[in-house]
């Protein structure tokens, strides 16, 4: 048996097909979910893909958070359904209060697209178990509003509870994908909730799953194999 992983398409979602492909490459079955449907089609996990849902109007993720599908996602995530939010999906998760903090515009005020070096800080979430803690990986990053912020109390709490999942690798050459690309506080690239079933990050693991395509690296594939293993062994 394999796992069925839902991918939500909001109006303005861009990486929904790419995410479905990544899920397929990992050996799971992708299931398309539509923003106007409350029905999650009994999937085993959900990915909120990147893009500019609702044109990023008002604030990135602010409108999507109120779509019918999100009502079900929020409810089931609280009950333990694994959810991964990538880029715009991460923004939706913070707007939905499934993850703390928020994303502001990049500190340099430009869109940035590059291969980014990350350090895995937590390899025990539903989506990161196929990595090892401290591992350094390259995942493409592409966003306008990627600067993660939260108040000091929340940041300290995230750190203390080991809920920072990925950090931008800052030391090293910019040409090698190092550096904080957007001014995120404490170089945070991704976080998880207390239960470890909900993960959000700005970089795009679905774009690093085939050796020929994009940057030519496959460092993003373990996201999808991690969840698959968890679901089929559960």
């Amino acid at each position: 048996m394999t796992a069925r992983i839902g991918v939500v398409t909001f109006p303005g979602s861009l990486d929904d097909r790419d995410t479905q492909r990544a899920i397929r490459l990992a050996g799971a079955e992708p299931v398309a979910l539509w923003h106007k449907d409350k029905d999650l089609k009994q999937v085993d996990a959900v990915v909120l893909p990147g893009g500019f849902s609702y044109g990023d109007y008002l604030r990135a993720g602010a409108i999507s958070r109120f779509s019918p599908v999100m009502g079900s996602v929020i409810e089931q995530a609280k009950a333990g359904l694994p959810v991964l939010g990538i880029c715009n999906g991460f923004q939706v998760l913070t707007e939905a209060h499934l993850l703390p903090g928020a994303m502001l515009g990049n500190d340099h005020l430009h869109f940035i697209c590059r291969d980014q070096k990350l350090r895995v800080e937590n390899a025990s979430t539903a989506w990161t178990s196929d990595y090892s803690e401290g591992q350094e990986i390259f995942i493409p990053l592409k966003n306008m509003d990627g600067r993660y912020v939260a108040d000091e109390y929340t940041l300290d709490k995230l750190e203390a509870e080991g809920r920072v999942v990925f950090r931008y690798v800052v030391r090293g050459e910019a040409a090698d994908g190092c550096g904080n690309p957007n001014g995120s506080l404490r170089d945070i690239a991704g976080i998880t909730n207390e239960a470890g079933n909900v993960v959000g990050l700005m970089p795009h693991p679905e774009h690093a799953t085939e050796p020929l395509i994009g940057t030519g690296r496959t460092d993003g594939l373990p996201f999808f194999t991690s969840i698959l293993k968890k679901l089929v062994t559960a």
Binding site: A22, D56, I112, K142, H207, L212, I213
Partner: protein
């Protein structure tokens, strides 16, 4: 408030003496008289609005048409061509049942006035052209030209243009995979913002812009129509028909990429269910263009009720509605029984869709407003039978002096040290420097099929995940070469784009172009245009790559000063398996570097002459298209059979520029030896065409040499991939760190 009576067809016939503002709308007296002759009466205001926009240079190609015919007349026999010039974009067969459509267009003037929106809507327009053919857009490219890099206005225009392209394209989910950024003082005040798009479909899904089948419904869908993008119409509306109205609508359109993304998805869904008979996007000239082109390309006529057009501003006059260039709108012709399903799909995507008319069995385009008939024309006279000018042209009197000013006579570096200093200056000059600061503002990864993106020689997209079938696209143009000799300059642009496709391993298939020139009313400019078109048409005939469509942008000039003639050529190629693609970056130390082709002393229009001497004169490099074809065949075979691991085309900046780029991208240096019979300066900096540098694994050297020898292509071993420096034996050595510093800091320091 008193209103003048509605200017219906009846009213126009009854009031022949009413003066219309044809001159303010850009029409010449004889053009206006021709409209009166065609109609047998004076036009109504709405008719005048339609004719004036459709007969404009931009829409009618009235100055360029007589020359552009050569692309058809000289078109080579080519089985790949499925749809040729005249449709929204050309379509070529790339095998395995796939068809690819591609096109490049200009959005030059709006981008100077309002850089962000001008560039953004340029992307939007070309993408809609591609959707209108039935294709899913899969990538965009952006050839850009700006004034001097250090000019203060460049700092206004460039960041806005780049943000606009990114802001729109990124939001549509289209990877940006190529293009160019060129700086030259001649583009000050006239930046060139060209935008290209590639789309993919199955053969059976090709759609055309025609309205056939009486009773079929005409559906306008997408954004509401507003007052944006109305140029001349404001004059018509405010001065003649109703003086109580606001005047001077903004002439630059405002884009909403979110709306366009929805338009893409909903259109493709309608195509997939075979709901569409004919389709046209609304770009320049808006509804005037869409209705008249759909009607004139189809078999019947068309009746439209303008009152049904959803408006953003209820005070718009019918003339304004017809001329509005509000973005993100399309017009589809749908059989009556399929209308409900079409509207359902639009509703699913929250896209407004309205039936505004139907196809009739007559041959007239009739438009109604408030119950009165305000347009009654033969649509062909609007869309296709506009004026055609044989503009006078003459070789400018300064051309001889320019060509006589030979760049070969410029002082050359005296020794290795001076050569080294000049090369460092060259690779750090704005035109030769890394454009990463710009390109990293574009999404290259979305859709997950990008095999190669800039700074590779051509962008490459996988179109079939199972078989690995892919397409490559390169755009090139060199205004400096074209200024020295427009015929040769156009062929050099073609040759370079053709070569750039081949260096990545793809087989060049077809051509699109964007011809950017000054005013056609200047005989010197018209001569440049005529020569460039002749050169491109001859070149395409010889290379066997037909022109599938393109765009002309004239009047790129301020006062008497025209831009350099700038034909930008896009070449589309196909590769059977993207796994065989060849990148620019050096892959492995120890691999052997071979220079393919002949190097002559050719410095006219070169980057060296510009950067070191601020000079433009002499003749551009010679073109040998048979050699280009042979070089391409070798590059494609070598890539397919695994004989080369990297390849880079040689163009502006010559060999040294290419080697430095390959070294920096691969993080591996090179040791070069000046071959017998050449001096170091010519070896490194000449811009002879028909050349490439390739890295050959040692195990493949014999096989590779044999192939080049058997086919008669000069291949000279010039060095090896090695170390942390670029060293030219006996001349100089530069570390990769020094080169990186020079190459990568220029653009951010000027623009960030």
């Amino acid at each position: 408030m008193s209103r003048t009576p509605l200017d219906t067809v009846e009213h126009a016939a009854a009031t022949p003496d009413v003066e219309l503002p044809w001159a303010e709308l850009g029409l010449k007296k004889d053009e206006y008289e021709r409209i009166v002759e065609i109609l047998g009466r004076r036009p109504t205001g709405a008719e005048l609005a339609m004719y004036s926009v459709m007969w404009s240079e931009h829409c009618s190609y009235k100055s360029s048409k007589v020359h552009l015919r050569q692309f058809g007349e000289k078109a080579p026999e080519n089985d790949a061509m499925l749809v040729g010039i005249g449709e929204n974009a050309g379509v070529v067969d790339v095998g395995q049942g796939y068809a690819v459509t591609f096109k490049v267009e200009s959005h030059n003037h709006p981008s100077y006035v309002e850089p962000y929106q001008g560039a953004a809507t340029g992307v939007g327009g070309i993408v809609r052209d591609i959707i209108a053919m039935g294709a899913r857009p899969v990538a965009v490219v952006d050839p850009l030209r700006f004034g001097a890099a250090d000019h203060p206005d460049t700092k206004r225009v460039l960041p806005g243009v780049v943000a606009g392209i990114g802001g729109y394209g990124n939001c549509l989910g289209l990877p940006n995979i190529g293009g160019e950024v060129v700086f030259d003082a001649c583009y000050q005040g006239n930046p060139l913002v060209n935008a290209g798009c590639i789309g993919v479909m199955r053969h059976e899904d090709i759609h055309l812009a025609k309205a056939s089948g009486a009773g079929n419904k005409v559906i306008l869908y997408g954004a509401r129509t507003g007052g944006d993008g109305i140029g001349g119409a404001s004059i018509l509306a405010s001065e003649t028909f109703d003086d109580a109205k606001p005047s001077k609508r903004p002439a630059v359109q405002v884009g909403d990429p979110f709306q366009e993304k929805l338009l893409i998805e909903c259109t493709l869904e309608a195509f997939a269910e075979k709901l569409v008979v004919g389709i046209q996007d609304l770009g320049a000239a808006g509804l005037s263009c869409a209705t008249s082109e759909l009607a004139s390309n189809g078999s019947g006529g068309m009746r439209v009720t303008l009152d049904d057009v959803p408006l953003r501003d209820s005070t718009l006059s019918p003339e304004e509605i017809l001329m509005s260039e509000s973005q993100e709108r399309m017009c589809a012709v749908v059989e009556p029984e399929k209308v409900d399903r079409f509207l359902e799909i639009c509703a699913k995507w929250d896209v407004i869709a309205t039936v505004i008319g139907e196809v009739t069995d007559g041959d007239r385009l009739e438009i109604y407003w408030h119950g009165g008939k305000i347009v009654d024309v033969d649509p062909r006279t609007v869309a296709h039978e506009g004026p055609v000018y044989e503009r006078p042209y003459a070789r400018p009197d300064w051309q001889d002096a320019l060509q006589a000013d030979d760049a070969g006579k410029l002082p050359r570096p005296a020794d290795g040290e001076e050569l080294k200093a000049q090369i460092l200056k060259l690779v750090g000059s704005p035109n030769q420097a890394s454009k990463k600061w710009i390109t990293q503002q574009y999404d290259h990864f979305v859709q997950g099929n990008t095999v190669l993106a800039m700074p590779e020689d051509s962008g490459m997209i996988r179109i079939d995940e199972e078989t690995g079938l892919g397409v490559a696209l390169a755009t090139d143009g060199n205004g400096r070469y074209a200024k020295l000799d427009p015929y040769t300059g156009a062929q050099l642009a073609l040759a370079e784009a053709y070569r750039n496709v081949a260096t990545t391993g793809a087989r060049p298939l077809a051509v699109s172009d964007c011809l950017n020139f000054g005013s056609p009313e200047d005989p010197a400019v018209m001569w440049q245009f005529a020569e460039a078109v002749r050169g491109l048409a001859d070149g395409c005939q010889q290379l066997g790559t037909p022109v599938t469509g393109g765009n002309v942008s004239l009047y790129n000039q301020t006062g008497e000063a025209a831009i350099h003639p700038t034909p930008v050529v896009a070449v589309l190629g196909v590769i059977d398996d993207v796994a065989r693609r060849t990148p620019v970056a050096f892959q492995e130390e120890g691999q052997l570097l071979y220079l393919l082709g002949d190097t002559r002393e050719e410095f006219g229009g070169s980057a060296w002459s510009q950067v070191v001497h601020d000079h433009l004169g002499g003749l551009p490099p010679k073109v040998d298209l048979e050699r280009e074809r042979l070089l391409a065949e070798i590059l494609i075979s070598a890539s397919r059979d695994g004989m080369i691991d990297s390849a880079h085309d040689l163009s502006d900046g010559g060999l040294i520029q290419a080697v430095v780029e390959s070294a920096l991208l691969g993080g591996k240096g090179a040791r070069l030896v000046v071959p017998d019979g050449l001096d170091a300066f010519t070896f490194l900096l000449s811009e002879s065409a028909g050349r490439a540098v390739v890295a050959v694994p040692r195990s493949e050297e014999v096989r590779f040499n044999d192939m080049c020898g058997a086919r008669g292509l000069p291949a000279t071993r010039i060095g090896v991939v090695d170390g942390e420096t670029v060293e030219v034996q006996g001349e100089f050595e530069l570390t990769l760190a020094e080169l990186r510093e020079a190459h990568e800091t220029t653009i951010p320091s000027l623009l960030a």
